[in-house]
Amino acid sequence: MNAEHQQFLAAGQRRASGAPLIRLENVSKRFGKVVAVDNLTLTIFEGEFFALLGPSGCGKSTLMRLLAGFELPDAGRIFLGDADLTGVPPHRRPLNMMFQSYALFPHMTVARNIAYGLRQERLGRGEIAFRVQRMLQLVQLEAVVDRRPDQLSGGQRQRAALARALAKEPRVLLLDEPLAALDKKLRGETQHELKEIQARLGTTFLIVTHDQGEAMSMADRIAIMDGGRIVQVAAPKELYEHPRTRFVAEFVGDINIVEGKLIGKEAGDWRVQTGWRDMPMLIRDEGEPLQAGESVAVAVRPETVTMHREPFKAEGPNAVAGQVQDVGFLGDLTLYRLRLDSGAVLRVSRPNATRTVEAPIGQGDRVTVSFAANAGILLRS
């Protein structure tokens, strides 16, 4: 268990170091008047666990169908390694897809489903049986080989679909919302399993999801999509801590955002006038090309804000006073909704590090909050 876990962690920390495997160059796809994918360029590396993340209708599913070959791009080219995939029909593409609905063949047993792709390759009986057996072991479905899909549980169906897609040892596995049909508890376990299987096989995984938690916990890199374009591509940590646009900041995790105006620089920090406080606040300058006088948005994650009950007074340029409006107890966290004296709303979260807190901060309490200069993120408006 321990060694396994270590291996899992090591795999999780592995970053894409392979050669470019998938290259999309200026790919566009229109459906009637709707532009689903808009002049999109993207590189995915060998061995990477890559996530396409975005709200529904952002074009992520279309992008996956373009890769699988079910849709042809109106413009642009798609490469796999050195081969141009653009006009190749789906059955000749060396990548396989795990469908959101699983699309298991209802008239075939689990074993026949997994063998289906191998039979198309005209492999020998022995070879097929061997590889099916190996897949069954990988996804732990040996006990139900002879069942048909309608006799499986949701989790078993999901594994069968995964095994079927992996059986042909594709260069890229496309996963379309692979966990969407599972209940929440199973989803958490399956995330680990997917990650483990990917690490063991070394196959490039490309997952499409609308669930940021899912993408964050599994992917090496995430591409955030909006309106058919990629807004930002980065590792999960980078994406969370350095979102480049307001859309990314709001889509990934919880965040407070306030409009502001840059006043001037002060020892590596920007002085920003915001709606949270009468006096300017100090936000760390991260080298973004910004000009004094420019309108910006200041973003602060709720967990980076410290909070104290009055009469304690927080000092410093980023200290603000307010009143607790609402308290949400989430178990691991408690979420506070504050009404600042300026009238703005600020969300603050605190981990429940001890089991019982004496005199916890409650509704109606006066508090002061503050955050470090480097906790704030400056986003161009």
């Binding site: 699988a68 070959g69 079910f70 029909p89 789906p90 059955h91 000749r92 593409r93 396989n96 897809m97 469908f99 609905s101 699309a103 298991l104 063949f105 209802p106 008239h107 289906y116 792709g117 198309q120 390759e121 002879d146 069942r147 048909r148 006799q151 079927r164 897609a165 042909k168």
Partner: protein, 305 residues
């Protein structure tokens, strides 16, 4: 609680019992009457068969009645090869027509199921549309089309494809044409129902796993539409075997079909008992394959855990 469950059970019994009652009154009872007539002898009387049970009370009457029944009519069916040939010819015509209907109906149903969702109801309506006109009138219309001086021959002559009018009417070809025309909706509709239900992502999955489009069709689409194929085939085959109107109107005197034989025994020869025997045999011919098929299906489903 117990009372409620009793009432519930009574309610369920009524719901299940009603269709059985219906079948008993309108199917089983008439069949028993036909069976009983088939065991009688023809006479020139009203009704035209003997024996008839006149009083239900005396045991002697019953005895006389039962002794009067015999299997003479079935022996006639067996010994006279007219009935054999009619039955075999009916089965042959039904088999060939059902095959032709399948070949024609499957592509149509497939195209309908793949049509844009908005246009599908219209297409289904078009398939059903002929039912708005009487079946008999539609078959008569075929006479007008197929006769030597009819529309088809006039058109072919005008095209210059033929020099002499073709003799189509009153041939087996006309019967096949009429049957395929009349039964096509019964083939298309069940096929369409099963093809329309088929999840298109299954085809995509098959192609994704390396199947060419045609391989995907044969390994996924066809097996999954098999229930529709069986339903359509039974729905066509069974009534075609007993078909009377189409061979009578479009076929020549040499087109032998069991339904026609039955008709002439009943109305021309007024031999009710023999006609009834034909009807009983016809029913058995049709029921046996259905029962066998159902049995195989049931075993297939049970075999899978």
């Amino acid at each position: 609680m117990a009372v409620a469950s009793l009432r519930e059970r009574a309610g369920r019994a009524i719901v299940i019992g009603l269709p059985y009652l219906w079948l008993a009154i309108f199917f089983l009872l008439p069949f028993l009457m036909v069976l009983r007539i088939s065991l009688s002898d023809p006479v020139t009387a009203q009704p035209p068969y003997e024996p008839v049970l006149r009083r239900w009370t005396s045991l002697a009457e019953w005895r006389e009645f039962l002794l009067g029944l015999d299997f003479d009519n079935f022996e006639t069916l067996w010994s006279d090869d007219l009935y054999w040939r009619a039955a075999l010819s009916s089965l042959e015509i039904a088999l060939v027509s059902t095959g032709a209907l399948l070949l024609l109906g499957y592509p149509i149903a497939y195209a309908m199921a793949r049509a844009p969702e908005r246009t599908r109801p219209l297409l289904v309506a078009l398939v059903i549309l002929p039912f708005w006109t009487s079946f008999l009138i539609r078959v008569y219309a075929w006479i007008a089309i197929l006769k030597p001086e009819g529309l088809l021959n006039a058109f072919l002559l005008w095209l210059g494809v033929i020099a002499q009018p073709l003799a189509i009417l009153n041939t087996p070809n006309a019967v096949y044409l009429g049957i395929v025309y009349a039964y096509l909706p019964f083939m298309i509709l069940p096929l369409y129902a099963s093809l329309e239900r088929l999840d298109p992502t299954l085809i995509e999955a098959a192609q994704d796993l390396g199947s060419t489009p045609s391989k995907a069709f044969w390994t996924v689409t066809v097996p999954l539409s098999l229930p529709g194929v069986v339903a359509g085939a039974l729905l066509c085959f069974i009534p075609i075997v007993g078909e009377f109107v189409i061979p009578d109107l479009l076929g020549g005197s040499d087109t032998l079909m069991i339904g026609r034989t039955l008709w002439s025994e009943f109305f021309s020869n007024r031999d009710w008992p023999l006609a009834s025997a034909v009807a009983v045999v016809l029913l058995l011919i049709l029921v046996i394959p259905i029962v066998v098929y159902r049995e195989i299906e049931a075993q297939r489903w049970e075999a899978q855990p």
